[in-house]
Subunit: 339 residues, 2 copies
């Protein structure tokens, strides 16, 4: 069958901003399967902000992406050949197949390959609202922000794959949801389509003081929890507006990925407001996945969890789509359609 | 009996640094007691960094100190007259008597007046290692830093009333303790007298990078918890050195009390190292007081909890002693002896 597999390698590390020159498209033969292995043809590749952190050689929560190897990434596709009894040709599956057309997976490795059901929603949802980004939202909201009745929860990147789920979960549970997003279109989507109580266009506001004023205008009682996907001035504004004993889940610091740290302007607020701030990585909280996927799958199947995708076509489009994601050019979950 | 009570009022709020001009010494008559009241003659007044925060009018965790009223503060003394059956003349007591020679307390108000026993250690210990600062140390270490076997715990202001107890508790429980203090004398005290594993003289180091290098040199396995009494470059250095899943108790941000915020240089570390940072105020955790006082009292009574005091003499010395405390001129718990 297929003998060539197109794939992207990381061939250099960014100095400052990542560029297309850091990536190289190569072709490699698809090896034949050993006993217990499964060959997956990817239909969709997921692009996520965490990938930027792995491009650096610095200490991070994950080992750096090795140079001259296929870039790691989540994928959804179909089994095209199987030498493992649990998987058959035609099965729809999710795996960490990387930036390539095909992957070979050990069928028996725990969590490596998961069969999914597209009766109620389509395959790419398993890379977004009912996948890693959705579980990230669920964990940060449920386990770290821990809202109480009457609470207001704020979040940055509110139209994105994670933020959109944070806010919809908050609304479904009866809390107020307040988003930050970049541009009037995204803000309109967040309020009109996703049902948030309000959304602030951070691109129309210059600094944390202006962001704070906009936030104060729509949160007369302050905020009680904050889900941070970005960092920088939005985090400063949220810290200034958060009520005593507020909880902040730190999921992303996309603004700092280019090397220069963005300071937190007023850390004394941590003491003044007796805050709890916690950074987390959803892959280290596997205990949250079953409950999260049950709730998110149920909401998605009944139309109560909306999501939006930015789809790039063809593997060769992956680097540009990824660089655009880092600049907020996507609208919703960024995917690459490979088939 | 006594008819005049000397007391300090806050008469203006600081613009930038607090100065002696913010305080005014006045005399007021001691009113006669109503039924249920107790008259306490203060032997010691406690001076604590939190008082600086209350001098401002800005939102803080406590209401601002009202102008033209006696400044709030912890005191230890003796009952000189009682119209409450639970207290008798000569009882030694601790109360929040303020910056004055005498206070009148409702004997039946919960927690307002507490009889203490000086069999095993002297009265002023109840304002330090076996009082509010000690319980602060106990709560932050036990409930927020939550050390595990083999952990290393760092703390700023290690020779101070709070930090010295954090480190001694850590050592008593079998952890490594690493302190920051200002000057060679304080560092020698922290290691030689209090038994910390190491102490870094922050005054001999210019910036957070140099502090980080000194910290790295004495913590080959990094640090696992940090107790922050100061903020600024020490906090930056600790965040850079803390291991994954580290816990940071934020108890003081003394460097920022003059109005200008000191930024946290690299908040992305919260995500990179999946940290939990929590600000707290010990008066909001009354559940910790009984266990803390039992443990601290037991250690102090058997000589396993050492403490040191800087004592100013006479109420009129209180403002200068307080301003010196804010600059780290004290060595150990800062008290004013009034009798």
């Amino acid at each position: 069958m297929t003998s060539l597999n197109r794939q992207f390698h990381l061939v250099s590390r960014p100095k400052g901003e990542a560029t297309a020159a850091n990536f190289q498209l190569l072709e490699a033969p698809v090896p034949s399967l050993a006993a217990g292995q499964v060959l997956v043809r990817h239909h969709f590749l997921s692009l996520d902000p965490y990938m930027r952190g792995r491009m650096d050689d610095a200490r991070s929560y994950a080992p750096p992406q090795p140079l001259n190897q296929v870039i790691i990434g989540g994928t959804a596709g179909e089994v095209v050949e199987s030498r493992h009894p649990s998987f058959a040709t035609g099965d729809l599956v999710v795996d960490m197949g990387g930036w390539q057309q095909f992957s070979i997976v050990e069928g028996g490795a725990k969590g490596a390959l998961r069969k999914v059901d597209t009766t109620h929603f389509p395959l790419p949802a398993y890379l977004g609202a009912v996948g890693m980004p959705g579980v990230t939202a669920w964990h940060g909201l449920t386990k770290i922000c821990q809202p109480k009745p009457g609470d207001t929860i704020a979040m940055s990147a509110a139209s994105g794959a994670v933020g959109s789920v944070v806010g919809q979960l908050a609304k479904a549970r009866g809390y107020c949801a307040l988003g930050f997003a970049g541009g009037a279109d995204k803000c309109r989507y967040v309020t009109d389509e996703l049902g948030f109580d309000a959304c602030i266009d951070y691109k129309a506001r210059g600094d944390s003081k202006s962001l704070y004023q906009a936030l104060a205008a729509v949160t007369p009682n302050g905020i009680d929890g904050h889900f941070e996907n970005v960092g920088g001035p939005i985090l400063d504004a949220a810290l200034a507006r958060i009520n005593d004993f507020g909880r902040i889940a730190v999921c992303g610091m996309i603004s700092g990925y280019n090397g220069e740290p963005i300071p937190m302007t007023h850390p004394a607020l941590i003491l003044r407001s007796r805050l709890r701030i916690e950074g987390f990585l959803v892959s280290e909280h596997m205990e949250s996945w079953p409950d999260a996927l049950t709730e998110l799958g149920g909401m998605a199947a009944t139309g109560r969890l909306k999501y939006r995708e930015s789809i790039a076509f063809g593997l060769e489009a992956a680097p540009e789509a990824f660089l655009g994601l880092l600049k907020g050019r996507n609208f919703g979950k960024q995917l690459v359609k490979l088939v």
